[in-house]
């Protein structure tokens, strides 16, 4: 039934896209009144006012930067987040070309370019908040689910930069750099109260105050609380009498609270963020007792960041940054009714300084220096009652780095972007990562980019030093993983209305860190063992029309394999396709946001296959209909498609496949005054 509905729905989408695209386009006809060969300066003012300006990509500095960027970039704005009903950063990233999310009902993992390894806590992407690095110093994790440090409502836009970014950003900028840019005081301009309710007794409340004063001071303070009872779930792996017939209730709960504060004046920005999330683990991971609601993880993180930017009259821009970060992890695992606690305490501070200038009119130079002191990287594990220590490992390390990038305009329409960064880690040594990009703009609106770059993922302290007496062996000799990427990108802007992108990539990864069995002790340990390769391509078309209709359609193909065995990687779909459409029902007031995501078949750990699936999300959004009030209602997985994500390692999950949510709902109300 669902499948039939689905086909009808898809056909509807096709018809919609095909009919809308050509018909809405001829808006340019209006412009015939003032043909371009006519001298604009001779037009009366009233006619000048009616002329539509084309090529906004060259007007808006930001979009222009997109075409100049030595990467394939996607931007998701706060409007899109509202209109598509995105609840987490993971929801946002799900809609991005070539990305897919795997959820094990504890953490959300991002898959990029066919590489999606559960249990890596997204340590192969770099997650920035307003340019501040958020990957922690224990697992290098980038948290994107409900555990994310920034509330999704506080996001102004998300910039997704694909490809290796280590030449500017250093470690973990392996597959992509994701920069979350938060709202400013003036974007709120008053007080905002927001409440939402969703399936499985999920509730969220938020208070935000933000404003700017005439003298340029901006302030924003926001806090949110979320509580979800979660699902009642059935796991066939536990379907016997000893395990409540595989049914677990009250174990999928999810609670978080977070705070964001941001002040800016002159060239200074002071920002602080805090979040704490507690998540029940319904999967009985790591062989814990099934259906025990004490199985849970707590992720608590905060940071303070002070940034100063100044443009000197001599044409030099300066940036300096000081930061202090904390990450506290707590895992509660129940064995035979007794709780075993895993703790991680990470603390670090550091600074960064950057100088950029233009030399000889043709070279845009950026040079920078970065230092991080990981003065606490401690891991503990113990049984609570009776107290029995299992792991007690205290570490610290330091990282420093220098980088240089030159954007050299060889010709008016040909730019060479070359950059290199040297990173020195006290725990494994140094690494140098270059990036080279040739950006060719043969015609206005047509851009070709050829890119080559390398990136690295440093081994984290968990992989290097976590050791107990029975299951896990440390390996301090681990070296970083290395990726080498080649890319070809073609971008085409068609006036203001459309943007098309086609790209191809090939990458090889060396020294992949994998968990393996140490032959001498039969314990698990991490080694730089595997090599992987991938080839793929992506196409995307984005459109934006005067009446408020916007949309994007993308398709990605990727083929990944283990270089020594030739076998495809686990959790790597060949095909991904996405449609995002916002349709205005009443101009500027009521919108329908429609998302359609297709994820192809994925191989699982045990050699089975997670079937391909479609997810359709529908949001009805209204603003200004009632004064100061924003209302939205969303249905996620509209057709109640049943699908599962591959499980993680055999140690973590008994399940080879983990069932995902069916149809769920959310309503949200935001009042601004």
């Amino acid at each position: 039934m669902n499948r039939i509905l689905h086909k009808i729905f898809l056909q509807f989408c096709c018809v919609l896209m095909l009919t809308l695209l050509p018909h809405i386009a001829p808006a340019g006809a209006e412009y015939e009144k003032a043909a371009p060969d006519r001298d604009l300066t001779e037009l009366p003012l009233e006619e000048l006012m009616e002329i539509e300006v084309a090529t906004v990509y060259s007007a808006s500095k930001f979009e222009q930067k997109l075409t100049e960027a030595p990467s394939s970039v996607s931007i998701i704005t706060s409007d899109e987040i509202k209109m598509y009903g995105h609840r987490t950063l993971a929801d946002i990233l799900r809609s991005v070309r070539g990305f897919f999310i795997t959820y094990d009902r504890n953490y959300a993992y991002l898959g990029v370019r066919g590489f999606g390894r559960q249990g890596d806590y997204n340590s192969r992407i770099l997650l920035l908040v307003d340019g501040h690095r958020t990957n922690d110093n224990l697992y290098d994790s980038a948290l994107i689910g409900t555990e994310s440090i920034v509330d999704v409502d506080m996001i102004d836009r998300v910039e997704v930069v694909r490809g290796p970014g280590s030449s500017l950003y250093g470690g973990n900028a392996f597959f992509a750099v994701i920069n979350v840019i938060t709202k400013r005081g003036e974007d709120i301009g008053g007080t905002e109260l927001s409440g939402e309710a969703g399936s499985f007794d999920s509730y969220k409340g938020r208070f935000t105050y933000g404003n700017s004063s005439k003298n340029g001071l901006q302030a924003l303070v926001s806090g949110s609380i979320y509580d979800s009872r979660g699902q009642r779930l059935f796991f066939p792996e536990f379907a016997d009498q000893a395990h409540n017939n595989g049914v677990t209730d009250h174990t999928d709960f999810d609670r978080f609270h977070n705070v964001l504060a941001k002040f800016s004046y002159g060239g200074f920005v002071l920002e602080g963020a805090y979040s704490s999330r507690t998540k029940g683990i319904p999967t009985a991971s790591y062989d814990t007792d099934f259906n025990d609601s004490r199985n849970s993880t707590v992720d608590e993180g905060w940071f303070i960041d002070l940034k100063y930017e100044r443009n000197l009259d001599i044409g030099v821009d300066l940036m300096g940054r000081l930061f202090y970060d904390s990450c506290e992890f707590e895992g509660n695992y129940v064995y035979g009714g007794m709780v075993q606690k895993d703790l991680g305490h990470g603390r670090w501070w550091g600074g960064e300084t950057q100088v950029s200038t233009t030399l000889l009119d043709r070279n845009k130079i950026i040079a920078g220096l970065e230092y991080r002191d990981n003065y606490r990287q401690d891991q503990f594990s113990f049984n609570v009652t009776p107290y029995e220590p299992i792991v007690n490992d205290r570490r610290s390390s330091r990282v420093w780095a220098v980088y240089l990038q030159d954007e050299f305009s060889i010709l008016k329409n040909l730019v060479l972007n070359a950059g290199m960064r040297y990173d020195n880690y006290s725990n494994f040594g140094s690494t140098i990562n270059p990036r080279l990009a040739l950006i060719y703009t043969p015609l206005e609106g047509t851009v070709f980019k050829i890119l080559y770059g390398t990136a690295f993922r440093p081994p984290n302290v968990f992989e290097q030093y976590y050791q107990d007496s029975t299951t896990q062996l440390a390996n301090p000799a681990l070296s970083p993983e290395k990726i080498r990427t080649y890319e070809l990108i073609y971008e085409q802007y068609f006036g203001k209305k459309y943007r098309g992108t086609a790209s191809g990539f090939y990458y090889t990864i060396d020294d992949l860190i994998v968990s393996t069995t140490d032959p001498a002790t039969s314990m698990d340990t991490y080694r730089n063992l595997n090599r992987a390769e991938a080839i793929g391509g992506e196409v995307e078309l984005e459109g934006k029309w005067d009446n408020g209709l916007t949309g994007r359609v993308s398709y990605s193909y990727q083929d990944t394999w283990d270089s020594s065995t030739g076998q495809p990687l686990v959790n790597s779909p060949h095909n991904l396709a996405k449609i995002n459409l916002t349709i205005p029902l009443i101009k500027d007031k009521v919108f329908v946001g429609l998302e359609e995501q297709f994820t192809g078949r994925r191989k699982t750990r045990d050699g089975n296959h997670a079937k391909a699936f479609f997810v359709t999300n529908l949001t009805l959004f209204s603003q200004n209909l009632l004064e100061k009030l924003e209302l939205s209602a969303s249905i996620y997985n509209l057709f109640d498609y049943r699908y599962g994500d591959p499980g993680g390692s055999i140690r973590e999950h008994v399940q080879d496949m983990i069932q995902q949510d069916g149809r769920t709902f959310r309503v949200k109300l935001t009042y601004r005054f």
Binding site: L21, P26, T41, L45, L48, A54, D317, G495, K496
Partner: protein
């Protein structure tokens, strides 16, 4: 399989279909800088500077650009055009030190960090400052361009105009958004 094929074919069709409609024999639209230059010509026509501003009766109304000079190629096209009693001049390579020689000073977005210094340098010389960056009018720039539904509009800071001794005629005021600011 069928839904997947449909999705892909939709995409491919959309790709193949849309450029046709875009390239359907239509001429390219003007760039925003072209329109801004046309507006600037109109500003010169419909704004009166104090007589003391000009050394003689035939002196030009000089237009300058501070920062990224994408506007320059279009200003060059209005150079020499008559505003009635005077002609438009276009001066290149303007700096903080030489900006007092200009009657109309376009301040590019890249100058955001230096805006206060620029306004200070321009203060007291009857210079019409023009920008195209959000918030510039509120910070003391006299005329600021913005886009509304892809159409170029502008806002006027009257206090700034008064301070510079500029008289803006009603046909400009009627179509502008009036903002307050220093």
């Amino acid at each position: 399989m069928l839904p997947r094929l449909l999705t892909i074919s939709t995409f491919l069709l959309a790709m193949a279909y849309s450029p046709g409609s875009i390239y359907g024999g239509e001429k390219p639209k003007p760039t925003d800088y072209e329109v801004k230059a046309a507006y600037i010509y109109n500003f010169a026509k419909f704004i009166d500077w104090p007589q003391s501003r000009f050394p003689d009766r035939n002196a030009n109304i000089d237009v300058c650009v501070l920062g990224n000079d994408q506007l320059g190629q279009y200003l060059a096209k209005i150079e020499g055009k008559s505003t009635g009693d005077r002609r438009i001049g276009f001066k290149r390579n303007t700096s903080l030190e030489t900006l007092r020689e200009c009657e109309i000073l376009f301040i590019d977005n890249s100058q955001m960090g230096k805006l206060d210094k620029i306004l200070e340098a321009a203060n007291g010389s009857s210079i019409l400052t023009v920008g195209d960056t959000k918030g510039f009018a509120q910070r003391g720039v006299t005329i600021n361009f913005y886009l509304e539904n892809n159409k170029m509009r502008f806002e006027i800071n009257l206090q700034a105009a008064n301070r510079a001794g500029l008289k803006i005629r009603s046909n400009l005021l009627n179509i502008a958004k009036i903002v307050t600011g220093p």
